[in-house]
């Protein structure tokens, strides 16, 4: 029997029962479609989280404040909420570290900001001149803070593009205008370039002021009367010296805080790759979870195929008997029924891929990034053809083993 004829016979048989064929195929369409969509959304989440982490700086080591963990029931505050890191720590790091590009102490807090009748609530970051280097930040117009302004605690501010849009309207030039942060007037001297990002990690919705000005006019001093910072970001010269720099940072900080063990210290030192891998492992788990739920629906679709094929074999017993009587061998019948199952899953898989693609496109319209790579499409095709073979095998075998005499008598 020729391959072409096998397809012809299978197609005719499937076309004879269009509704049933379509419904059975739907199971596979939904199965494959949801696998594609779920994996796409999972990978998209992973991609965007990684991109977000990358965009906050390169070769970055971050020192964050935290409550010293002592024996007993001490509660560790959220990162950056405690006041254990001081401006002096940052200055010491600047002096003592080698192999670094810049050190950037930061003091951030949310404030109500107003400008000519508009107002918004946004993150105000006290920064120094090292900030753009450490955080990969570029200036769109005007200039960033300079040493003079930091030294003098000048009341100047650099706006993120989103903040500029909110306060002054899109595309306007706010340089020279004044804004009020928590009641204090600041003069706008620059606007940063958009970096993208969304939600809590939106780096375009920020205002930068000299850290000294923030300490003096906005946040104030710590309970012990010291100028404190929420975190200190250090940018290493290149990826190779990351570990070395991280060790230096830890040593200097431990020494300054009179502590011996990083595990019980009142600060934490993290490097960026730790963050990336932590976030990746979370999203990977999420992707696997989503994909396995979708995989279950694929399995159900496969069982649907098997069910339909078994029904078909029973219904067409006489036809199978006739085909055998006029000279069909076991393998002819076997291939014919297997081909029917594979056509079902393959076509269903194809539609499923398109469907899953569409779902993830729609999802990205709602702000959920998704990302479909060709390996997952190929995999889906492979899996659906495989399901056809696995779930079509038993019914096809049953058909091929029918005794022609009994099959012809079957009522």
């Amino acid at each position: 029997m020729k391959t072409r004829d096998i397809f012809q016979e299978s197609y005719t048989a499937l076309a004879a029962n269009k509704v049933r064929t379509a419904l059975t195929m739907l199971g596979i369409v939904i199965g494959i479609g949801s696998v594609i969509a779920m994996v796409g959304i999972g990978q998209g989440a992973q991609g965007s989280i990684e991109a977000n982490i990358q965009s906050i700086g390169s070769n970055l080591i971050t020192v964050s404040s935290g409550v010293q963990r002592t024996t007993g029931a001490a509660v560790s505050g959220g990162l950056g909420s405690a006041q254990t890191l001081t401006q002096e720590d940052a200055d010491a790091l600047k002096e003592e570290l080698t192999n670094i590009k810049a050190v950037s102490p930061e003091l951030s807090r949310r404030y109500q900001v107003t400008a000519k009748g508009t107002n918004t609530n946004t993150q105000v970051i006290g920064a120094e001149t090292g900030y753009p280097t450490v955080r990969n930040l570029n200036i769109d117009s005007g200039s960033f803070l300079n040493d003079e302004q930091v030294k003098n605690a000048s009341k100047v501010a650099v706006l993120g593009p989103t903040t500029r849009d909110t306060l002054f309207g899109e595309g306007t030039d706010p340089i020279g205008q004044t804004i009020r942060i928590n009641g204090t007037q600041f003069k706008v001297i620059g606007v940063t370039q958009a970096k993208g990002g969304s939600g809590f990690t939106n780096q375009d919705d920020m205002i930068f002021v000299p850290i000294s000005a923030s300490q003096r006019y906005l946040v104030g001093l710590s309970a012990s009367g010291k100028a404190y910072v929420s975190s200190i970001a250090v940018s290493a010269e290149n990826p190779e010296v990351m570990t070395e720099v991280q060790n230096q940072v830890t040593q200097i900080m431990l020494q300054r805080h009179n502590m011996s063990d990083i595990a019980t210290a009142d600060f934490t030192v993290q490097n960026q790759s730790d963050l990336v891998s932590a976030a990746s492992s979370v999203t990977e788990t999420l992707t696997i979870l989503l994909a396995s739920i979708a995989g279950i629906s694929l399995l159900v679709g496969g069982i649907g195929i098997m069910n339909m094929m078994l029904t078909t074999v029973t219904e067409r017993t006489r036809e199978i008997g006739l085909r055998k009587a006029i000279g069909a061998t076991r393998s002819d019948i076997n291939f014919q029924f297997l081909t029917e199952a594979i056509i079902l899953t393959f076509v269903g898989g194809g539609i499923g891929v398109i469907f899953g693609w569409a779902v993830s496109l729609i999802a990205s319209n709602f702000g959920i990034t998704s990302q479909i790579d060709y390996t997952s499409v190929l995999l889906a095709f492979g899996v659906s053809a495989g399901i056809g073979v696995i779930f079509g095998y038993y019914p096809a075998r049953r058909a091929s083993r029918l005794n022609p005499i009994e099959a012809l008598r079957y009522e």
Binding site: M1, D5, L322, G327, T329, R330, I405
Partner: protein, 238 residues
């Protein structure tokens, strides 16, 4: 040439052994028109299955065209059926929702003959079976009983078999259409086809040249049919 030598067929169902055929021997020469007759339970159906290479005897030899068929495997039997045997069943067994030509050409699909040649051979066989050309592209379930049986006959002829086996071919037809179908068999026999007709009706058997009567798994009589009934008309009924 068909030779059956001391054929036995026994079915075993649990502890019960049923001897369906007991030492049956006969020879049918090429071009003969033979009716195998017997009441139900006589073993004539089993005989037909063996002659049609659907089944093998428990003991004895069945030689078709000089080849011993009695010891072949299922798939080898399938090849014999596709090359040498044409079946006509009581209930037609056509593929519904398929055209006349597609039904007729079906055995050629399994013989691996390509599309163009299939259509040619199917048209030829359909004309031979007395089907009108205007019906070639009708769906098989839109035809009358007599026409359906002609399609089945054409399907049996299409691979130019050594042996045409008809199992109660008129059982589902009224007398008039039955007669016409039997006339078709006679005409095919005149053209040189070897035909074996399996029936329980003496009236149907009377159309053959030779009648073999089977009772309880054995041959009761095997003689020439002296008052053969002959039809002249062989027109397509509507």
């Amino acid at each position: 040439m068909i030779e059956c030598q001391n054929i036995y067929k026994t079915y075993v169902n649990g502890d019960v052994e049923t001897k369906v055929l007991k030492d049956v021997s006969f020879t049918i020469k090429d071009g003969e028109f033979v009716a195998i007759m017997g009441p139900s339970g006589s073993g004539k159906s089993t005989m037909m299955h063996i002659l049609g290479a659907l089944d093998t005897p428990s003991k004895g030899k069945y030689i078709l065209d000089g080849q011993d068929v009695s010891t072949l495997t299922d798939d080898e039997l399938a090849v014999i059926r596709r090359q040498k045997i044409g079946f006509v069943f009581q209930s037609f067994n056509l593929l519904p929702r398929a055209t006349v030509l597609r039904n007729v050409a079906l055995p050629l699909v399994y013989a691996g003959i390509d599309n163009m040649e299939r259509e040619e051979l199917a048209k030829k066989a359909s004309l031979q079976a007395g089907l009108d050309e205007s019906r070639f592209y009708h769906l098989s379930n839109q035809l009358s009983g007599g026409q359906m049986q002609r399609v089945a006959i054409a399907r049996a002829l299409v691979n130019n078999p050594t042996l045409l086996l008809a199992d109660e071919p008129t059982g589902n037809l009224d007398t008039k259409t039955g007669d016409i179908v039997l006339g078709t068999f006679q005409r095919l026999n005149d053209q040189g086809h070897t035909i074996i007709l399996i029936t329980h009706e003496p009236y149907v058997a009377r159309h053959a040249d030779r009648i073999i009567q089977i009772r309880d798994g054995q041959i009761l009589s095997d003689e020439e049919n002296k008052d053969k009934k002959i039809f002249n008309s062989d027109s397509d009924e509507n």
